[in-house]
Symmetry: none
Subunit: 184 residues, 4 copies
């Protein structure tokens, strides 16, 4: 059943958010997800495998949301803004995801993790389009997308960790600043 797998994912996200990777034990996880300890090992080879699968699961959701939201007929400015807000709200809607994501990305697990390149490519491809259209500054698109992503994460951390209120206007300001900096 996919149900149990999902319950494990949900519980993992919640517990890891609260206690961190290693602060979350498999037995805790099992209890929280209402499954037996052994059951987790039907779905995942190990704790590490489970964590990687969880990350993949989240990234897939995010990329799919981004793709389904994107519309190439819109102006690049608008696509830029939608993309920024899409990532932002993705995490606002799943408040436990960011901490997990950041922990994962800075952990040894992430080293040589295959999904990584896919994500980076997804974003740098977008900015390459902007460069090709003569709108975005002609710099390494990996660098551009790194900064773009960095600004979303910064805003999210402000909002989720430090509880700084961010109005829609604030978001537009941030996006505007980012846009102003990245365009010719």
């Amino acid at each position: 059943m996919v149900e149990k797998k999902q319950a494990i994912f949900d519980s993992a996200l919640e517990l890891i958010n609260e206690c961190g990777f290693h602060g979350t034990s498999m037995s805790q996880l099992a209890k929280h997800a209402n499954v037996a300890a052994g059951t987790i090992y039907h779905y995942f080879e190990s704790k590490e495998a489970m964590i990687c699968a969880l990350h993949t699961n989240i990234v897939d959701q995010l990329l799919e949301t981004l793709t389904s939201t994107d519309d190439k007929n819109l102006s690049f400015r608008l696509r830029f803004e939608k993309r920024w807000k899409c990532i932002f709200h993705f995490h606002i809607d799943r408040p436990q995801t960011l901490r997990f994501y950041e922990q994962f990305v800075n952990s040894p697990f992430y080293f040589n993790y295959p999904k990584r390149k896919e994500i980076q490519l997804y974003f740098s491809t977008f900015f390459q389009e902007g460069i090709d259209e003569g709108i975005i500054i002609n710099k390494n698109p990996e660098m551009i997308s790194g900064l773009f992503f960095g600004s979303v994460i910064s805003a999210l951390k402000m909002r989720l960790y430090r509880k700084v209120e961010l109005t829609e206007e604030d978001l537009n300001d941030i996006i505007g600043m980012q846009w102003k900096g990245m365009t010719l």
Copy 2:
């Protein structure tokens, strides 16, 4: 002896960089630092205390470097640039520090960690000056400093994790973009 304490810090940084917080055991650390397991407990109350002290140690170094480098007689533009580069090179010179720092900042340890406010204040104070001088956009200085810091971290991750080459020109570009976005 301060010598042993430093050896512990150095080894911790190295091991945590490679294996993560919890992938690094106290006995491993002791062995790597050439001290007995018990010795670590003369200097630190617990593993957590040691990690927090390590973070404090790094932050103190960074803040001191920033303070000693800053010069209020220079133009704000130049101070902005120096500050950005100072943080950047601080980590380039200590390549193991970033991973530790990011792990720490995204860990449960960081929750309610007193040093946190100090750092944030240090940075937002700087930007408040820029706002007061009518140079920086009049937005929440915490937000501004969050984005500023985010761009340094993004650049560092590109350089240190993804091995993207960043020339001095690239750095100037990034700073320029950031400045362009944040100023009126």
Copy 3:
């Protein structure tokens, strides 16, 4: 179906030979035998029961082979030799059997295992005949048969574990030595 039961026996023998009793898990066994985990429990009450049944199965085969090969009209010397060779080749033909057998016989399972007496009786009866005929030395037949069996096992271990080549002549030598020792 007897087919599946046999597949389980065959796989058990193979896996136990390689990994030992407890190194062989029921799910491994199920996979190797191409049956579901639960299926094994239709045929056997437990792992231990399965192992005992496997032993019984092997012993029955051996005893049957011995009985059908024996011919009371032959000289005792010849019967002795045939019997020795029969056991020897039984294991040579089933190279995985010896290790299982030896593990079983030296395991706690064997303690109070009913089949045990049957086997011992089977052999000591044979030697009692030799004693009664005035050919075999008049000592405790259990002792005689123990030594007899010991020499076959020794030869088998040399051949199967230590890969010592044993020619037909070698076998005859061993049998000859054994015979010489046991007869008046």
Copy 4:
């Protein structure tokens, strides 16, 4: 302290004799030896390593006893007899050792276990001397020593497992039979 290591060895021998290798858990062992679970891992890398060390420990004792007992000035017949009895009594004095030994020797651990060759060499060297003296039948000394050893083990199993009484006379008979078979 060597004391604790010895306590672990003693307990292991006792428990393995009763419950088998895998029937003996590390926590059981710890409890029985009056040490903490972790302590075992100061002395041995793993359960397997502990078992191998135990075997080595026993073999070393046996070989030392054999060596110190042997006297090249005696007749080969007498050395043969002393050697046989030495092994026999070694196990009679340590009744838990045989079951452990036999389990070990038939386990996957024994595969490619370095000590193995040493023991075999020790024994075949002895018989080579007998062959060179023209007393022992001129066959592969490994074969001879295998049969020799097999007869001791057989006698021991009779005595220890099956509780067959073996008088000094019985032992002399067995040795005599073995000698008769192996000599010219």
